[in-house]
């Protein structure tokens, strides 16, 4: 154990020097991380006093494993470690929604979540919603209604748009819901309020709303 901690300290100092959140892939590989956990009663792969942790989750149905710097955000894990650059980084502080992905069926800001906190989770990104040949209806609607200009916010908008309709159907109230004990209608006011966590610098809001309303009507 003491031998291990010496090694840990060395490695930790190495990492403390770097201010960026990098994936293990970009760092020297430390194979002992796996060894250490063999034979432990606990199923969690925690490396005490270490700056790296093993984590496994599925992304768009595919199982992925990482030995991640603890500081790695889910957003950087997707973009940098897993090369899924569809999910965008806008503010990196939970303010713009560009990084929105679905985790276990719910939208979250992937910039404000650590990769190592997603053990066992099912993550869906824009790449998992549709393919160029088989677009999701929401993707089709964004194209048809011109729901973007530069397109940078679009992956986050589309993930949020799908979640917005699901949240209304699941009966989750919003700030503009008049009767929070009653059934919630899909109205433009409801959609706007629920999409307020997704900013668009190009100001494509009116067309984004049209696209979402179109999908809502199609499903109604």
């Amino acid at each position: 154990m003491s031998k291990l901690s010496d090694f840990e300290i060395t490695r930790r100092n190495l990492l403390i020097g770097s201010a960026t959140t990098t994936a293990s892939l970009a760092l020297p590989k430390f194979s002992f991380a796996q060894e250490k956990n063999t034979g432990q009663a606990s199923s969690v792969t925690t490396i005490p006093n270490s700056a790296m942790t093993e984590v496994g989750f599925t992304v768009n149905g595919e199982a992925r494993k990482l030995t991640a710097d603890n500081r790695l955000t889910l957003l950087d894990a997707l973009r940098e470690s897993l090369q899924l650059s569809g999910t965008k980084k806008g503010c990196d502080h939970g303010q713009c929604g560009a990084c929105t992905v679905m985790v276990n069926g719910r939208r979250i800001n992937s910039c404000l979540s650590l990769a190592v906190m997603h053990e066992g989770d099912e993550i869906t990104t824009i790449e998992g919603l549709g393919t160029p040949e088989g677009l999701d209806p929401m993707q089709v609607a964004f194209i048809e209604h011109d729901g973007y200009q530069c397109g940078y916010c679009t992956p986050g908008q589309i993930c949020s748009a799908k979640a917005t309709l699901e949240e209304i159907r699941a009966g989750i109230p919003s700030h503009v819901t008049e009767d929070i004990t009653g059934e919630i209608q899909i109205t433009s006011a409801e959609i706007r309020e629920r999409m307020s966590g997704n900013l668009c610098r190009c100001g494509a809001y009116a067309n984004i709303l049209d696209a979402i309303e179109h999908v809502a009507e199609d499903k109604a």
């Binding site: 710097d69 502080h93 404000l112 700030h175």
Partner: protein
């Protein structure tokens, strides 16, 4: 972001024990406030204790007729719970008035209570701030203080508490339940949970460093009409300039707490006695001893008008 070690806690007491064992450890729940601040190196924990695997994500009826909300219940789920919507509407309303859909899906009951101030100087590490760096001074005094507190602050700090949820919980007389490393539990009325800044604005609650929140308990429902009116710079997705949480009974009596004006949810039971006399009477009691700045004195008028609107709506 500074490097830190990480562990997933197996039980609430284990989480508390891990906090006691590591100098500079912090719990991480939704991470929506802590990670934001870690990226800016305003928070620099040496060790993170991930409490997301603990369960504590259910809302259960208590023997007293109230609800026990697990500390890990997400803001979305709390707002959507049928019992909360029916019996504690003020809380549902406050929750959905805060943050965004994405953030509420992650934000937890415990984390929301402990979120830190949005004072712009607290966030700007080039400025002096007693809360961020005790003893360094307060750049907000004489600075840009439009968003800051009009009452309850001190020479050392005039920051507000940013939570919407906490304002509703204060009106409902919620109680925070905790456990520490030894396994001792305690129940802290929300009224006593947050501290005024005094000379130590960096100490924000009565919690010990190894004390872990397990639940928030709501007493039995109050009945009446429930309101949460939040006034902000945008129609959505902005912190409150002023908010009014109110539960009003058919006879015109009731309870009121204000957000956006003080370092903690601002309520004064004595002021509520003035409700039959209208908003001005209540507000003048609530703001007795207020020390607004030139930038934020508008909040006193805004609070009065917001409360007047609530009282008018209650009369129908």
């Amino acid at each position: 972001m500074r490097a830190f070690s990480y562990e997933r806690a197996g039980s609430p007491q284990e989480a508390a024990a891990a906090a006691a064992a590591h100098e500079g450890a912090q719990f991480i729940a939704g991470g929506t406030n802590l990670l934001d601040l870690m990226k800016l190196e305003i928070e620099t924990p040496s060790h993170l204790i991930d409490v997301n695997g603990l369960g504590l994500d259910t809302i259960e009826a208590t023997a007293e007729g109230g609800l026990r909300i697990g500390a890990l219940v997400r803001n979305t789920d709390l707002a959507a719970d049928q019992r909360v919507r029916r019996d504690y509407g003020v809380l549902s309303r406050a929750l959905v008035a805060g943050a965004s859909g994405q953030l509420r899906n992650k934000a937890t009951t415990g984390g929301n209570l402990l979120q830190r101030t949005r004072c712009p100087y607290f966030y700007d590490t080039n400025m002096s701030c007693n809360k961020r760096e005790p003893g360094s001074g307060c750049a907000a005094q004489g600075g840009y203080s439009r968003q800051l507190a009009v009452i309850g602050g001190s020479e050392a700090c005039i920051a507000t508490h940013p939570s919407d949820m906490a304002i509703a919980m204060r009106v409902l007389d919620a109680v925070v339940e905790t456990v520490n490393a030894e396994g001792d539990t305690r129940a802290i009325p929300l009224a006593d949970f947050h501290l005024l800044p005094g000379d130590t604005p960096h100490i924000e609650t009565v919690l010990a460093p190894d004390e872990f929140i397990t639940a928030v308990v709501l007493p039995r429902p109050l009945g009446g009409q429930h309101f949460y009116h939040k006034v902000r710079d945008r129609a959505s997705y902005a912190f409150a300039l002023v908010s009014v949480a109110a539960v009003i009974q058919p006879d015109g009596s009731g309870r009121i707490a204000l957000g956006g004006v003080a370092p903690k949810p601002w309520r004064n039971e004595a002021a509520e006695a003035a409700m039959p006399n209208g908003a001005r009477a209540v507000i003048s009691r609530l703001f007795e001893g207020a020390t607004p700045t030139e930038d934020n004195e508008f909040k006193v008028t805004l609070a009065e008008r917001t409360l007047a609107a609530v009282l008018a709506e209650a009369r129908g």
